[in-house]
Symmetry: D2
Subunit: 384 residues, 4 copies
């Protein structure tokens, strides 16, 4: 089959690779019809992780079940399914408590937790930017969709269930966003926009989204958020001015360790410290932007070793709470699916490009260059 | 009346000061019979805050009501009361939601929140290391006790309700300690010991307490915790060894910014980074040790400005959650009182010294020197 | 001043009564500008309670502060305020935990809890269907509004904060309505409509509202709910048909003990048992419709003594949870106010009549007769 | 193999039946070494359900894994395991949210939910009062134990993890028992005693247990609870007297529909209505005593149809909350196991009899007769 293969820093190509097979009786094979490029793919694409050359990218996957192992009971051949990016067993101590983001069984490294498709350090699982994908523990890991999911356009909504819609929602969950709240979101990339959409679904009364790219701020505004252009105003002062000096009720970090100054200098502390200032005493902060223990591309020794120079004194003095980490997709994908079905959420508004799988290399190039207008790419392996 | 007055770094004396008066109709005047010296008093005593000379220390107070303002309805003259260290109004947005630790009314500084008796930066309220104390909003801020609280020995239990018992409990609440959990506590000072007691009350199956002082580790062991001597073993490795490499379910920070290496070098990051390592993926951490935005006595520019060099990459990678800040005493003081009444909690086990108010200067000296055996001092203004 | 006085069953008149005065130093006097007639006023109006003749009705009140007691600190003369129907002290064990609906201080009857303005069995407090109202513990009990609240039309939104908007919201809180949920609401009266609005704010994906009156069902439909006409379909079967036989995720009871069959026969069990059937295994049910321990007007001995013939076997077998009781308004009125301010909630859509206070008798008559189109009456004491 | 077979009302015998086999690839076969007789077995034994003659009883099971299906990954032959009484799939909407008590997959009846071993209406699964048991979805449904569980005496603790320890704990969870609470438990049978133990683990300051049997009240007292003999005092008045008339903070129902008056007359409403009276305004009540939609043996039409004559008016007026239903064992069995391992819980204190499987008929007879001293029987299939 064809798949997007990583050849080294900033070099991917679409290659023929062996078809996935049922390896264990609970496996399912899915024919991928929509698969996104994610911001975290770029970390690997840029060579800032130990992702292996020759492996296949892709953890935001949707498609049709074409084969099921003999121990699969729920999922049937022909079902349309959205597949959480987390690979999870369903029966370890963490999965049992809903932490499928930190499955103990599927992560091969002792003392670590969590697994994903086509992801550095997250186990040996191939990615889904390909024609087919093997899904372990298929009954547990596949979310079934309705017949409308056979429509390629409609898939642009449902494919967001694999990662970024739940991930944005998870930021608002960790931030404790409740009806009436005033929420600030740093980052108007796909995840930040999903966090804004989620805050709106949860009944926030005001939502600020901070970024510097006009196209993305425009998307934030299109769903009712207040855009804050960080290249023109100090976002902390802006939020404080609008809240009698008290700050937002809560905040979401949707940028990660590649946060940078307007001049392009990376500063992994930037958004974290801005959030501490922009959020009120007692406020909660949810961090879904990716941070890493080791970053070979970091600008200094702190960054290389994942150390933040963090305004901890203020964080503590304000009595804030911070939740972090990857999203347990299964915790949210049913409820978000039901919101899409009922028409109360339309996450496809962020899709800027639908492209055949073959154009993945070009898409990676543009997305990595942060070219204007390249907000979210959905690859369509079946597209002619 | 007599009171413990701050004259400058490491200099307190017992002086005559004016008696407090009813200033507003909701005020209550309490004759103090038990008042503790707290570890956070030492930060001020050492001159590492902007605490004003001439002011009175003391925020852990218990005594008998001797006068009530004309708008006081619940509290009566003669009632024995334990007084939360937080001064709170009861009707602002924060108090309403239970955040009496971040009252917006009683903190005079605009954009800040929270007030306390005899505390730097927490409003103009005199401390209770004195014969009398004025308590604003007396009906809201006094916790009534039973007749047994007239006994001076029994007061050694109830006086812990003013601060450290609720504060230790708050650490376990923010850490989410539940029945069956394995919990690690950094610090076996009074607050750490109260956190260990609280973890036990909440049903933890194993509790480790990390410190280097044998007297304090012995107290931890006396209530069923496992003492871990950080001068003899690496606490992170010790915890991991006992948990199949996974780490504790959750952790409490009860040391604060004056954490230091075995050789005495301060390192405000020490316990924070150890906790990130010692607690499992998905774990929660509650931080009640004090951290400050500005520390004139900090060892370097980071410390002076309250900046931690924090292993954020690991914190995020492990999907941990961290809660911080001072304790909202009223959230817990009723329930902890009821546990003392029923005999299920006896927090006085930490009391090492009961002294007359006049011996406060000597007590400060010993406590500040971390002299062995000086775990917790209760001053008794009425003691002959 | 003028006030709506109860003279006996189905007999109210607007009479001159003494002006309220500051009785205690924490009191506030409010000049009422908008005050609603509530469905629970009808229980008293119909003589089915022991409400005293000569007393004044009215617990949904909004107005301008015209006098403050000497111990009032926050509220100022001239402030526009919405007043929770609960009268609460702010410092008893129940208020402290947020249960201002069950204040132990303001309810005079020993072993009971909870107080309200102009309400049977809820203390001696006069109602606000009058020109002025005395509000005890004014700082705690008044919710301040912005300048826009001086506008009489705008008051039609804010006055709902006194009772029914929080009450409807409380139903959804007790029912645990979360984003994506499918929720069924029994009753499309003002409270049921507020519950539907609240479920929508909380992100429900589908909301059914069951009633028999076309005007009310039309209002439900106007805010995006699915109207279910109980006179035309079996609501239980209807809900099951739309949910693969499983039932709604959760449900709200907004009718109360005067629920009746299509033929008018009262049956206090009707909606309770329908909810048990219409809600899925594991579902939660929030009951804000009023039920009473004694109902002199009950149709049989069970009803007279507040005994339901309840399908308990099914309730238990399905593992359902039920929350009940009056609403703690202060838990929600800030957040709902902020939603009104930001334009995300417009509860005034239910207002059918704005009338001068003098027309209260006529309004009671129509409302009690359940005349079509009389959904919600706002009395305007200042209206010419 | 040998198994306890139901022949009809009050008639069981130990018979040879076919050995269970691996039917599906995720199945596990367990050699049973400890299996309890449960109070709910008696409902079936007495013929008050539609339990089929010829079927095998037993849903509280522990033993050694002797065979695993080819899709089983975690559980190994030789593992000692405690088996939740709920049979659950792990991937349906209910299991996913932790409601393994209401699994949608394993219950064959459309529109119903929940399955169990050897239980009326809960699917076709054979019971474990036998030499061997087939456990579907073995990785999900088996809780692994340590080596100490090979000891038959020690099994008397661990076997309680299959049902009654989690069930008692679930009562306290639904009742919201927190540190410091005063909790009342109706019923001192095995489940009531486990609820009392659980309340103690959760930090309750006072625990009352109401029953009429001195042997059981003695067991309650042995773990620090206050015994209340309902044949000698009115339990409602007793609780109120000890709580200033306010009632307990929360309550647990551990009796069920066979509650009866001192004279033996059954009254399924008895404990429910007593709980409403004995628990304070705002209190929560957890009901794990079994209630059924249909009871052929009920004393009147209400009882036959599972209808309670419930003091709903009081329940609502007091603003109480009630949770109900069977326990989701997997939600609690790990944490309770860890408490047994660490020595903080010893649930075997209730075991009155350890008998070989062959003596099951005699044990049923005594247990059903409520003979004094027959608190809890553990059958030991391997015992000579």
């Amino acid at each position: 089959m064809k798949a997007v293969v990583y050849n080294g820093p900033r070099d991917v190509s679409v290659e023929e690779v062996p078809d996935p097979k049922i390896e264990k009786q609970a496996d399912v094979i899915v024919k991928i019809t929509s698969t996104n490029i994610c911001g975290s793919d770029l970390h690997m694409y840029e060579g800032r992780t130990d992702f292996e050359t020759g492996r296949v990218f892709g953890h935001e996957n949707l498609g049709e079940v074409v084969e099921v192992g003999s121990a699969v009971d729920k999922v049937k051949v022909g079902d349309m399914v959205a597949i959480p990016f987390n690979v999870a067993c369903g029966y370890c101590k963490n999965c049992e408590r809903g932490f499928t983001n930190y499955c103990l069984t599927m992560q091969p490294k002792k003392e670590w937790a969590g697994a994903a498709y086509g992801f550095a350090d997250m186990g040996p699982y191939q990615g889904g930017q390909a024609e087919f994908l093997r899904v372990p523990y298929g009954d547990f890991n596949c979310l079934r969709l309705g017949e409308d999911a056979r429509d390629s356009k409609r898939q642009n909504d449902y494919v967001m269930l694999a990662d970024i819609f739940p991930t944005g929602y998870h930021a608002t969950e960790m931030a404790g966003v409740k009806p009436g709240d005033q929420t600030v979101i740093f980052g108007a990339g796909p995840v930040g926009l999903m966090a804004a959409l989620s805050a709106s679904i949860r009944g926030a009364s005001r939502i600020w989204v901070v970024d510097r790219r006009p196209d993305r701020l425009g998307l934030a505004e299109s769903i009712g958020a207040i855009p804050v252009d960080g290249s023109k105003v100090d976002p902390v002062e802006f939020i404080k001015d609008q809240t009698m000096g008290l700050g937002a009720d809560n905040g979401c970090e949707c940028v990660g360790y590649q946060a940078h100054e307007p001049d392009g200098t990376e500063d992994m502390n930037l958004t974290l410290n801005q959030l501490v200032q922009a959020v009120r005493f007692t406020g909660k902060i949810g961090v879904v932007g990716v941070f890493v223990p080791q970053d070979p591309g970091g600008k200094d020794e702190f960054a290389k070793n994942g150390k933040a120079v963090f305004d901890y004194g203020w964080f503590w003095f304000k009595g804030q709470t911070m939740g972090t980490g990857q999203c347990p997709v299964k915790k949210y994908n049913r409820l978000l699916r039901d919101l899409i079905v009922s028409g109360k959420a339309t996450p496809s508004f962020i899709v800027s490009h639908e492209l055949p799988l073959e154009q993945a290399p070009e898409a990676y190039q543009h997305f990595d260059a942060r070219d204007e207008g390249w907000t979210k790419v959905v690859l369509k392996p079946g597209m002619k």
